[in-house]
């Protein structure tokens, strides 16, 4: 075929080999004296990210999609590719893929067409995968990323990494290798799977890491996928080449597979860049191949060379009709698109004037940022709301191994607490006690204050005045100092007053009363 990109679609594990050919990392050809040093090379990286689309049922049949179920229970005649079965497209999966495309600024194709990608592998029940070859549903677009800043509390540089395409396909099953045999679990087979292909626009392992982080956040924001890498909901392959800094031609690329966590992505790519520079510097040549990265050992090994590459024999799937995606359809999905994370961050800076460190906690989790906005709007104290959430709420939830969704404290209660604190009617220990009770019961702070008698109301004016008089009388030295102009000397009376009030006195009122009595004495 001459149309279409050269290597679209999920690359399957490759032709099955009786004994996998191991190509040592120092694949050396001709030894020549190096003319450039390690820092004279830059990396060119493109990522192929597979994202499972969060739908109730599978891509081409009604059976449920899911994770962690007993082996081969999420199957039906279609999933098992029994003789005579036919695929029927899941429109919800297409909806979510269009949504991903709209969120990332892609052009949505007017016609969605399905192709068969033919290869034999035991985890692929039909021995072909239904995918999209030359007419992917989304073209172009970009992912906005944030590079690491100069310090943790300083925002890093933002970049837009252009995308080549996004297409939709079906996931394969899973092989579980035993000592003498292999078992297949088809539960994952047929799960809707997006492939998001970036342009070779990333230059370092850190950029790749930032790209993946940003992409994950957008997918979770859009409700497109949960992106749990442990459950295989997001998987990443990288195409990596190196070239002398200042040149523009692309070097020979190596495909690195099985980067199954964000840290493996960073480490695997860093390792591969180092490996390639090492090969070139020692006079060797990079061979076009697919390598498997083992995150446990930090070592990669060759899976197959270019000569063993598949001929997938793509052709349009005659069992599925092309689907027209018209303006009405796109508009409906557009209406469901949330604000993008970095747009929200920029808005938070302007609308709430909160610092970067707070936004970087609040924004990546859209439930948390919604919670923040609700609280901030109700109490009118954005900074305080942000601090309460980022520090106290998250700490307590983490300690209780709970989640925001399960939190008993809702924004209205938290906003009320912030108002109470601001009014100065609660002592610090009382605030802590109220918040702890709110975490336990979810009750309104006013109710807790009333029922526990924590408020200033617990002490009458006369009672308070009596404690203050006693405190001043007990420490004439401090009284003299205060009168002599040392304002901080007033603090010496506050401890005894609070002790007498068992911590329930209104600190503001104590201060006022002490000043009045000291002035009069």
């Amino acid at each position: 075929m001459t149309t279409g990109p050269t290597n679209p679609g999920a690359t399957p594990p490759g032709p099955i080999q009786r004994s996998p050919a191991f190509v040592p990392e120092s694949a050396v050809a001709v030894v020549r004296p190096p003319t450039l040093g390690p820092t004279d090379y830059e990396a060119v990286i493109g990522l192929e990210v597979h994202v499972q689309v969060r739908t109730k049922s599978k891509m081409f049949t009604r059976v449920a999609a899911g994770y962690g179920e007993p082996e081969n229970t999420l199957t039906d005649p279609v999933i098992l590719a029994l003789p005579g079965v036919l695929p029927v497209m899941n429109r919800a999966a297409l909806d979510l893929t269009i949504k991903a495309g709209l969120l990332l600024g892609c052009e949505i194709a007017a016609v969605c067409k399905w192709d068969r990608k033919n290869y034999f592998y035991p985890d692929s029940p039909k021995n072909y995968q239904i995918s999209q070859y030359d007419q992917p549903i989304c073209l172009g677009g970009a992912v906005e990323i944030e590079l690491p800043g100069p310090a943790r509390n300083v925002m890093g540089e933002h970049q837009r990494i252009p995308l080549t395409r996004i297409h939709l396909e079906e996931d394969v099953g899973k092989l579980n290798h035993g000592a003498t045999d292999s078992l297949i679990d088809f539960n994952r087979a047929g799960t809707p799977l997006m492939e998001i292909v970036s342009e070779p626009a990333l230059r370092s392992a850190d950029e790749a890491f930032a790209y993946l982080t940003a992409l994950k956040t957008v997918m979770i924001y859009g409700g497109i996928s949960d992106c749990d890498m442990e459950k295989g909901q997001l998987r990443c392959d990288a195409n990596i080449s190196i070239r002398p800094v200042g040149t523009t031609t692309l070097g020979t690329k190596v495909e690195l597979k099985n980067l199954n966590s964000t840290s493996y992505v960073r480490d695997g790519i860093a390792h591969e860049i180092k490996r390639q520079i090492g090969v070139v510097l020692s006079g060797g040549k990079i061979v076009q191949e697919t390598r498997d990265y083992d995150g446990q050992t930090g070592i990669s090994q060759s899976l197959r060379s270019k000569e063993m590459a598949h001929d997938y024999r793509y052709f349009p799937d005659p069992d599925l009709m092309p689907v027209k995606v018209d303006a009405t359809w796109k508009a409906r999905i557009q209406a469901e698109c949330p604000e993008l994370p970095f747009d929200k961050q920029r808005r938070f800076f302007i609308e709430y004037a909160i610092p970067y460190t707070l936004t970087s906690v609040l924004v990546p989790d859209h439930e948390l940022s919604d919670y923040f906005e609700a609280t901030a709007r109700l109490c009118g104290k954005a900074q305080a709301a942000g601090n309460w959430i980022a520090n106290d709420l998250l700490r307590e939830l983490a300690a209780a191994k709970s989640s925001l969704a399960e939190a008993k404290v809702r924004p209205a209660a938290l906003a009320a607490l912030i108002k109470l604190v601001d009014a100065g009617t609660l002592s610090t220990p009382a605030v802590r006690e109220v918040f702890a009770e709110m975490m336990k019961t979810g009750a309104a702070p006013e109710a807790i204050v009333a029922s526990k008698g924590l408020g200033a109301a617990a002490s009458s004016g006369d009672e308070l005045e009596g404690w203050c008089r006693a405190a001043i009388a007990a420490d004439p030295k401090a009284a003299a100092e205060f009168k002599g102009g040392k304002d901080s000397a007033i603090n010496a009376f506050k401890g005894p007053v609070m002790k007498a009030a068992k911590g329930r006195a209104n600190p503001k009122l104590v201060d006022e009363t002490l000043r009045r009595l000291l002035a009069a004495s």
Binding site: M1, T2, P15, I16, Q17, R18, P77, L80, A81, L82, P83, G84, V85, L86, P87, V88, M89, R116, N118, F120, P122, P125, K126, N127, Y128, S182, I184, D311, R313, Y314, F315, P318, D319, L320, M321
Partner: protein
Amino acid sequence: MTGDLFYRSISELSDGLARGQFSAAELTQAVIDRTTRVDGQVRAFNSFAPDDALDQARAADQRRHAREVRGPLDGIPVGIKDVIAVAGQPLTASSKMLANFVSPYDSTVTARLKQAGAVLWGRLNLDEFAMGSSTENSGTVKHGEAWQTRNPWDLSRVPGGSSGGSAAAVAAGEAIVSLGSDTGGSIRQPAAFCGLVGLKPTYGQVSRYGLIAYASSLDQIGPFAHSVEDAAITLGAIAGHDPLDSTSFSTAVPDYRSELKQRRGPWKLGIPKEYFGEGLDPEVGAAVAAAIDHYRKLGCEIREISLPHTKYAIGVYYIIATAESSSNLARYDGIRYGHRSADASDALDIYYKSRAEGFGPEVKRRIILGTYVLSSGYYDAYYLRAQKVRTLLRNDFLAAYQSVDAILTPTAPTAAFARGATASPLEMYLNDIYTIGVTLAGLPALSLPCGFTRSNLPIGLQIIGQPFQEANLLAIAQAYERDHDWSQRRPALS
């Protein structure tokens, strides 16, 4: 009086059932007895289960007793080509690859036949995976020998293919009607060879869900019957949109049987000059010419038309059909079901050996051909170009339908040929020359008996209709059938 029940029409039988002249169980028993008596010679069945059939028949009798009759097919034994899934029955495609496979699910057509009360009777033989024109490619082994279907009119001849078993069973009285599938002519050519009405519906008119795929963009299920009316009744039971088949059409399905009474012509009928050239047997040509004359006498306007791209049809077919089949048959790998080589040592070995052992030579030939035409560097030259020519072929027909209602041609160049007579696969492929273009164009067509050769072999007339105009097609066929008795003749089997 149940002696010849197995040769009666559906309307006669449902009438007899309604009058209580015989029960569905008696009718089914008559078909079972007939099958037991003659199938050793005809070899139409890969397998059958008399007890199961009788259970279905008794259920039909109970419905009748309870006055819950589901229509004209209730209690009628219908034979099913062994590529159409019936829950709990073998589904072998006449291949060693699936020799032991039992389907856990129902195809849409058989689910609908059950809904109509039909007795699903037996698994009918075919060319392995529907690849062939004589049923000689059947990979079925029964009673320790190769089990190739024979023509009931002359057991030394082929019944046609690939639905040879479906045609022979009805012709021999082993089923009242049957279902076959047509990819390049696999219903019409065996219908012609066995003296039956065989209808290939418009692509998309009948669900393919549960039909083992040969060439997905061509495959259609259709009926075999002794009469146009029986074909109409059977088609009516299986046609219509199916949410499980994305290529099935959502046009309304008319009551074909009552439409027959209303559509009386006269019609404008086209005669494509390209279908009457070299290779057409003179006896077949004469019978078809006589049929055309009859239509003229009925007041139909006969026009010569041209379908100029006809000569490319076979080439185009063998690119598209083999390409699709190479992908469709990839699932038969010995991993999840079907034949697995006993001495395979690893996954690759399972693929190589199971497929080498499980598939017959014609299936392998087409998989190799299809793999080749789809491979990198050849796709544009073969598959893509074939699809373009396919559009031209369809346009030929659509242009002709500007001036005619239907098209008349021979179904096959010759009557049934002798078993073992066709030497090369290419020669065999040419047998489908009149049927393949129609399938590529996705059009409905039927074959109708229009005479016999001097050696008493049936001859078929092909009538090609407009998309989704099966009702017209059936009415045109019945206009001829009404005035002839070819369909009344039965082979002399003992």
